[in-house]
């Protein structure tokens, strides 16, 4: 790069860099570190330190309202975890939640992306509308779906009046329907994310590939299977893994929509940890569960890095 020599337009390879100009070169060597330093500092203090203290707490007996009982218990919290039915239940719920959400979001998001990638009148408007729930938060999503799910004034009430289905019981109060109800609310704001990511990648499929495929006699289905899908593979891998982690970790919707209920039917692992911290103040045990969640996610992240080939130069 033509940095060391500013006075001429000679390419830098044409001569050795002038001596006695170490200042700029040193500055150049330090520049990237200076540029990333604020972020490194923030991440170290507000991310790395908390992670460290979670691991530290996980090995302690640490209950906030039993201040004199603090003690090092080694893996005791983890042993307790293995015998805790609520841990296994919440982990099973989390797995069911993540798999259902990610699969449905992928299928609907892919379909939606393919649709709004076509050219038609009003496409910009359609895109803006179907993507808009992406901007909406967990609590706002909850508020909206609580209005819709309300047995007295919600949408099912009106549907049952015109003879579709029967309202009366709250879908959120019934252990049989609450899972589906929460899944649909989360789909509402989750599908746009998938659709946006996939649409972004769809637009980079070279048009020539479709032309070549159609010359070879491939129909719409076959060119989708043999041109579009292979091209989208990386984006799909990335989107599903990012989203799986997000759906696993995220608590705001379930916390405000069902608060883990009814009767624990929608308690995910992070929600269980939050309840432990808020109700029993057992930070030691909660931290052990957090650490376990880390390990599970770490497994996913390794898979993610492998599949997405992240960070390698193009």
């Amino acid at each position: 790069m033509a940095l060391a020599d500013r006075t001429t337009v000679r390419p830098p390879a044409a001569g050795p860099p002038p001596t006695g100009r170490r200042g700029p070169r040193l500055r150049r060597a330090l520049a990237p570190y200076a540029l990333i330093s604020p972020t490194v500092l923030l991440l170290a203090v507000f991310l790395l330190v908390p992670v460290g203290s979670v691991v530290h707490y996980a090995l302690q007996h640490h209950v906030v309202n039993e201040p004199y009982d603090d003690a090092f218990v080694g893996l005791g919290n983890f042993r307790a975890m293995l015998g805790d039915q609520r841990f296994w239940d919440s982990l099973a719920f989390s797995a069911k939640w993540v798999v259902t959400e990610v699969l449905l979001q992928l299928l609907l998001g892919l379909a939606l992306a393919l649709i709004v990638n076509e050219t038609f009148v009003g496409r910009a408007m359609a895109r803006a509308l179907v993507f808009s729930p992406w901007a909406v938060s967990g609590v706002l999503t909850t508020s909206i779906w609580m209005l819709l799910y309300n047995p007295a004034t919600g949408v099912f009430h009106y549907l049952s009046e015109i003879g579709v289905g029967n309202a009366g019981t709250s879908v959120l109060g019934n252990p049989d329907t609450v899972f589906g109800a929460a899944v649909v609310a989360e789909l509402w704001r989750g599908v746009p994310f998938f659709a946006i990511l996939i649409l972004a990648d769809l637009q980079s499929v070279p048009k020539e590939l479709y032309e070549a495929a159609s010359i070879d006699g491939a129909g719409r289905t076959r060119s989708f299977l043999h041109v579009t899908l292979p091209h989208l593979r990386d984006a799909i891998v990335l989107a599903t893994l990012l989203r799986a982690v997000w759906e696993f970790n995220n608590v705001d919707l379930l916390y405000t929509l069902t608060n883990g209920g009814p009767a624990g039917a929608t308690t995910s692992l992070p929600l269980y940890v939050a309840q432990l911290a808020r109700k029993s103040y057992d930070f030691g045990y909660g931290s052990a569960l957090t650490t376990a969640a880390f390990v599970i996610l770490l497994f996913c992240s390794v898979l993610y890095l492998r599949l997405s080939k992240f960070g390698r130069q193009r």
Partner: protein
């Protein structure tokens, strides 16, 4: 489909194509539009019609619910708090992401790959589970019941992805433009400001908007780090309209509209950069 059109006369082919476009395109799109729009409509309906009305049109129109949440339920204060917190988060995230994204895209330095890996690994840290240690840290720093705790925590959790996105945008600006500006006598900083920054505008708009939307929507940090109602934010205010036993649906819906308006406006502006932003930063990485 394509093979069929080849043998049909053009008019019939066009008719068949039109029918298939309806089934393939407009029918599913229409159904999905209903799924997207009905919830928004329901919220607007409850916000705009009088309490006790069962009409499916917001008629007679009333603004009483907005008056209730804005004046009596404290949303005016929550709104101001949220605006300040989201704007400052936007500023910090955008500025630091620009610095770091530039470093990642333009410099080859020792530890670069490790740093990229670290940025990516942060995506697997469960933010909600960091609440207890974060609370302790902010208590040590005397930042509990300060808006700075939210701004700092939100910036920290958003920066990694913002930086990855931004480095994608910087990489899309040809390095030759910068080099030729430097050859013409600009320093690196002037070359950046004069040549790169204007070309990065879509990326900056995208990253800044993501930061604003994310910060505006954050619920758990505000719930955890702020106790003073005077400092509370819109999502927590919204949660309080959902009472334990009774729910004032008009207030809930009006609060929802207040919470939705800024992010939907931002979304409308950023919408066309959104797809571009996702492809520049996340997918090609």
């Amino acid at each position: 489909m394509t093979s069929a059109t080849a043998v049909l006369p053009p008019a019939a082919a066009r008719r068949g194509e039109r029918g298939s476009r309806f089934l393939r395109l407009f029918l599913p799109l229409g159904l999905y539009l209903v799924f997207t729009v009905v919830p928004f409509y329901w919220m607007l309906l409850f916000a705009l019609r009088p309490a006790g009305s069962a009409s499916l049109l917001p008629w007679p129109l009333t603004l009483e619910h907005f008056g209730t949440v804005w004046n009596d339920m404290g949303f005016r204060v929550y709104f101001q708090n949220s605006v300040w917190i989201a704007l400052l988060t936007l500023l910090f995230v955008t500025f630091f992401a620009l610095m770091g994204g530039y470093a990642l895209a333009r410099f080859e330095f020792r530890g670069r790959r490790l740093f990229m890996l670290a940025l990516l690994c942060t995506q697997f840290v469960p933010g909600a589970m960091m609440l207890i240690p974060l609370f302790n840290i902010f208590q040590t720093l005397d930042l509990i019941d300060s808006r700075w705790s939210l701004i700092i925590a939100e910036s920290t959790f958003q920066l990694p992805l913002a930086m990855i996105l931004m480095s994608g945008f910087v990489r899309n600006v040809p390095v030759e433009l910068e080099e030729s500006a430097m050859v013409d006598g600009c320093g690196r900083i002037r070359a950046f400001l004069a040549v790169v920054l204007p070309l990065l505008r879509p990326g900056i708009v995208a990253v800044g908007s993501f930061a604003f939307i994310g910060s505006w929507n954050n619920f758990l940090f505000a719930l955890m780090f702020l106790n003073d109602p005077e400092l509370q934010t819109v999502p927590v205010g919204l949660q309080t309209t959902i009472g334990e036993n009774t729910v004032d649906f008009g207030a809930l819906a009006a609060g929802g509209v207040v919470a939705a308006v800024p992010v939907v406006l931002v979304f409308a502006v950023v919408q066309k950069y959104l797809v571009q932003g996702m492809s520049a930063g996340a997918v090609k990485g």
